[in-house]
C-alpha cells in the first residue's frame, strides 16, 4: 500500500524511540500503519559507517572540522556524541534552523535519519516512581499527573522485556527495579567508591547504570550481545543496544503492516470540524518539496517534544485558532529539560596494578536521595541523581601533564595515569509556564513552516540544584578518599541534556492540559502524542523508557477505542 492511495489505520509521525514503539505496537495489533520520518533513509548496519572506525581512518584523526561545524552544525556539534563518526546521523542546523533569544539560548539537538535519536541516545533507562508522579500535586508546581506508578508499571515491564535492560536490583522505592538482564560490572575503584559512599551516607546508594544494552541473549530476539567496543552512538550493527533501527522497526516490518517513508516532513494536521477528528496529515517531501495529504484513522505524534508541539501549533483552524488541541493554552508551554554538566571529579591514589579491559558503554548511577521525605530543609524542591565512571587517565591527558619529551617522556606515557572518578548530576526541572516554545511570527524554514522559537531559562530551583550537585559530588568523592577534587559547572543551557519535554502535557482537566491519561488529546479523540511532549513533570531520571511505556500503553488504549468505534 502506498501512502498516496489509501487511508491507513494509523499514521505515526517520527521514527525515533517513541515512533518506533508506536509502529511496533500498532502493526502488531493488525493496524496498517504509515510511519513518516522527516530524516533521511538509513539502513541498519550498512548505514553505520563510523562503527569501529579507528582514529587513523578518521579525518584529521578525529579533530573537529571547525568551519563545517560552525556553518552547518552549530548546535549539534555541542554534543559529546557528535563527530565525523556520527555526523551523518545528525540534523543539519543550516538546513533546519530554529530561533531563540541569544540571551536565553536553547540547544535543540536532533537527529536527521530514520531511527532518530534512538541511534544516538545514552541508553540509560530508569523507571519513575510515585515520588515523581505525585511531585506536582505535593508541592503545587505544575498540575497533577493523571496516572500513577501502578498505571505504567506493567508497561515498563512490557518495554523492558523487549528492549533488554541490563541492571542490578536495588530495592529502592524512589527507583523501582525492573526486569533486568545481567548487570555490567563496576570496576575496582567504582566498587571502592560505592562502599565508601554507602558507609558514609546511609541514605545514598551507588548502582551500576541501567542500560538498554544486551549483556546476554534476549529471549525472542536475534540481536547480538555487547562486545564492549565502546561508542554505541556510532551505531551497532549487531544490534546490542536498543534503537528503533535494531528493534522496533524490524518488529513492525515483520508484521507486513508497516509502510515507512523517509524524507517526509509533516507540516500540519487537518482538523475536520464536523467529526472533531484529524482527517488528514499534510506531508512535504524534503527532497522535491512536493506536498501531499495522507489519511489515517489514528494519528500518533512521536516527532519529539519540540517537533510534535510544532506540528500542533502549526495546525490552526477556525475551531482551533491557537493550534490544534490547544484550548487550554498549555501547548508549547511548560518546556523542561534536566540540569546537566555540573559535578565533580577526583584523582585517587592506589589501584595502580588495575587497568580495566574493554570499553563499557555504561557508567554508575547514584539515585536521588534528596527530598525523599517531607522534613528535609533544603533550598530547593525535588532532587537529582548522578551518573559517572572511574577510569585511568590515558596517554592524551598524561602527555599534557608530563613535562619534557624524548625517550623518557615516551616511556612514561606507556603506563596509564592515576585513577580519576567523575560524577555529574541530572537535576529535576520544574514545570513553568514561562518556559516555552512558540512558532516564529515571520521566519519560516525551507518548506515554509514557521520556525520554532524558544524562550527558556533555568529557575532559581534548578540553579540551587546545580549548586548542591557540585557540593554533594565533592563531599562524596572526598569521603571516598579522592586526593584532588575539582568541581565543575559547564553552565549548560536548556536542551543540552537532550531530555526536553512537557510541551503538550497530560492532565486530568482539559482546561489546563493537552492530553488525557492515555496521551489522547482532550479535544481530538483520534490524536495521540506519546513522546516527551506528554510529560507533566520531569523527574530527574532519564526519560526515554517512560516515553516508550506511555506509547505502548496509549496504543493499547487507542486500538481498543478504535475497535469499539469510540475514535
Amino acid at each position: 500500500m502506498s501512502a498516496q492511495d489509501a487511508e491507513f489505520d494509523a499514521i505515526v509521525v517520527g521514527s525515533g524511540i517513541s515512533g518506533g514503539w508506536a509502529a511496533k505496537e500498532l502493526t502488531e495489533r493488525g493496524l496498517k500503519t504509515l510511519v513518516l520520518e522527516r530524516g533521511r533513509p538509513l539502513e541498519h548496519g550498512a548505514g553505520y559507517v563510523g562503527e569501529h572506525q579507528p582514529a587513523w581512518k578518521t579525518p584529521y584523526r578525529g579533530l573537529p572540522l571547525r568551519d563545517l561545524y560552525q556553518d552547518q552544525y552549530e548546535i549539534q556539534r555541542t554534543s559529546y556524541a557528535f563527530s565525523e563518526t556520527t555526523r551523518h546521523f545528525w540534523n543539519n542546523d543550516a538546513e533546519n534552523p530554529y530561533d531563540y533569544d541569544p540571551d536565553k539560548p536553547f540547544e535543540w539537538l536532533r537527529a536527521g535519519v530514520v531511527g532518530g535519536r534512538s541511534l544516538l541516545w545514552a541508553r540509560q533507562v530508569y523507571r519513575w516512581s510515585d515520588l515523581d508522579f505525585e511531585a506536582n500535586l505535593k508541592d503545587g508546581h505544575g498540575i497533577d499527573w493523571p496516572i500513577r506508578y501502578a498505571d505504567i508499571a506493567p508497561w515498563y515491564s512490557h518495554v523492558e522485556r523487549f528492549i533488554g535492560v541490563s541492571g542490578a536490583q536495588e530495592g529502592l522505592p524512589q527507583l523501582p527495579d525492573g526486569e533486568f538482564l545481567a548487570p555490567m560490572a563496576m570496576n575496582v575503584l567504582e566498587r571502592h567508591v560505592r562502599e565508601q559512599i554507602e558507609a558514609n551516607f546511609p541514605e545514598r546508594t551507588m548502582t551500576i547504570g541501567r542500560t538498554a544494552v544486551l549483556t546476554q541473549p534476549l529471549p525472542g530476539s536475534n540481536r547480538g550481545v555487547c562486545h564492549y567496543c565502546g561508542p554505541c552512538h556510532r551505531g551497532c550493527s549487531v544490534g546490542a543496544y536498543f534503537s528503533s533501527q535494531s528493534s522496533t522497526l524490524p518488529a513492525a516490518e515483520a508484521t507486513g503492516n508497516l509502510t515507512l517513508e523517509a524524507n517526509a516532513v509533516v507540516a500540519s494536521l487537518e482538523h475536520d470540524p464536523a467529526t472533531g477528528r484529524v482527517r488528514a496529515v499534510q506531508v512535504i517531501d524534503t527532497l522535491s518539496g512536493a506536498r501531499r495529504t495522507v489519511r489515517g484513522k489514528l494519528i500518533f505524534l512521536c516527532a519529539s517534544a519540540i517537533g510534535s508541539a510544532q506540528i500542533l501549533l502549526n495546525s490552526k483552524s477556525e475551531a482551533h485558532p491557537n493550534g490544534l488541541a490547544n484550548g487550554s493554552g498549555a501547548l508549547g508551554r511548560y518546556l523542561m529539560d534536566h540540569t546537566y554538566g555540573a559535578g565533580a571529579r577526583g584523582i585517587f591514589a592506589g589501584y595502580e596494578d588495575f587497568y580495566p579491559r574493554g570499553s563499557r558503554p555504561n557508567g554508575i548511577y547514584i539515585p536521588r536521595y534528596r527530598n525523599l521525605r517531607d522534613d528535609e530543609e533544603l533550598p530547593f524542591l525535588r532532587g537529582y541523581g548522578y551518573q559517572g565512571s572511574a577510569s585511568r587517565l590515558g596517554w592524551q591527558s598524561m602527555a599534557r601533564l608530563t613535562p619534557g619529551f624524548g625517550a623518557e617522556f615516551k616511556a612514561s606515557l606507556r603506563e596509564p595515569g592515576p585513577w580519576i572518578m567523575s560524577i555529574g548530576g541530572f537535576g529535576e526541572c520544574l514545570p513553568n509556564a514561562e518556559n516555552r516554545m512558540t512558532l516564529h511570527p515571520a521566519k519560516v524554514d525551507r518548506y515554509g513552516i514557521p520556525l520554532v522559537s524558544f524562550d527558556f531559562r533555568w529557575s532559581e530551583n534548578e540553579l540551587a540544584i546545580i549548586e548542591q550537585i557540585q557540593l554533594d559530588a565533592r563531599e562524596m568523592l572526598a569521603a571516598a578518599g579522592a586526593k584532588e577534587i575539582s568541581t565543575y559547572n559547564a553552565e549548560k543551557v536548556g536542551g543540552s541534556a537532550i531530555h526536553e519535554m512537557g510541551t503538550a502535557r497530560m492532565g486530568r482537566d482539559p482546561a489546563d492540559s493537552v492530553l488525557n491519561a492515555f496521551n489522547q488529546a482532550h479535544e481530538v479523540p483520534n490524536l495521540f502524542v506519546t513522546d516527551g511532549a506528554a510529560m507533566t513533570s520531569s523527574s530527574c531520571v532519564n526519560p526515554s523508557i517512560t516515553y516508550m511505556a506511555l506509547t505502548a500503553r496509549a496504543v493499547d488504549y487507542a486500538v481498543t477505542q478504535l475497535k469499539d468505534g469510540a475514535v
Binding site: P54, W56, A185, H227, Y355, G394, L401
Partner: protein, 197 residues
C-alpha cells in the same frame, strides 16, 4: 636532493611525483624563511624536515617505532596546512623560525645541523612552566588550536599523531577493536599496553 631528504619526503607521503614549486625550490636552495606560509598547499621542504626532526625528538624510536615511522610528520603537515587557521599556522611556523634562529645564535649553524642534545636544549627552552595538576588537563583545546604557543602545538600534534596512528596502535598500544567483554578487575603489568579507544 640528497638521499636523506628523499627518504623524508617518502615518509611524509609526498615523495612520489612531488614537484617543488618554484618559490619552494628557491627557498630550499637559498636557506628557507621557515615562517613563510605554505605555497600550493605544501610547506617548504626545510619546514617539513624541521617538523620531522622535532616530532622524532619528542617521540623517538625506542623499543617501539618513533614519530617518523608512525607518519607523524605528514599528519602535522596536514594539520598545519589544512586544519589550522592562518593565525594558528603562523604561530606554528614562527616557532620553527625561532628554533632556527636560536640555533644560529647559540651555535652559528642551522637547527638541523645540531646534534640531538643541542636540539633538545633549544626545544626545552621553549617549554612553558608545567601547570601539572590532574583535572586541568582539558585546558589544551583539541589540536592545540587558538593562541596556544608553538611548543604546545608541536607537542600536542606529535602526541596525537603518534598515538592515533595505526603503527602505534599495533606496537605502543593494544588495539582490540572488539574486546568481547569487560573486566573491571583486569590487571596492569609490565607487559600491558594502553587500549586503543
Amino acid at each position: 636532493m640528497d638521499h636523506r631528504r628523499r627518504d623524508l619526503l617518502k615518509t611524509l607521503g609526498l615523495g612520489a611525483g612531488l614537484v617543488l614549486s618554484p618559490s619552494c625550490q628557491r627557498a630550499f636552495e637559498s636557506g628557507a624563511d621557515l615562517s613563510a606560509p605554505p605555497v600550493s598547499g605544501t610547506l617548504a621542504a626545510e619546514q617539513l624536515e624541521l617538523i620531522s626532526t622535532l616530532a622524532e625528538l619528542i617521540i623517538p624510536s625506542t623499543d617501539t617505532p618513533g614519530a617518523i615511522e608512525a607518519g607523524v610528520p605528514s599528519f602535522i603537515h596536514q594539520i598545519v596546512v589544512d586544519w589550522y587557521t592562518q593565525a594558528e599556522q603562523q604561530i606554528f611556523l614562527d616557532g620553527l623560525a625561532e628554533l632556527e634562529a636560536g640555533a644560529e645564535r647559540h651555535w652559528g649553524t642551522g637547527f638541523l645541523a645540531l646534534d640531538a642534545e643541542q636540539q633538545s636544549i633549544l626545544l626545552t627552552e621553549m617549554e612553558p612552566p608545567s601547570e601539572g595538576a590532574p583535572g586541568s588537563t582539558m585546558r589544551v583545546p583539541p589540536g592545540a588550536a587558538g593562541d596556544v604557543p608553538f611548543y604546545q602545538k608541536l607537542k600536542e600534534l606529535t602526541v596525537l599523531g603518534y598515538y592515533t596512528s595505526e603503527l602505534a596502535a599495533r606496537t605502543e598500544l593494544d588495539y582490540q577493536p572488539v574486546p568481547g567483554h569487560y573486566d573491571g578487575d583486569a590487571r596492569w603489568d609490565t607487559e600491558s599496553r594502553q587500549w586503543v579507544r
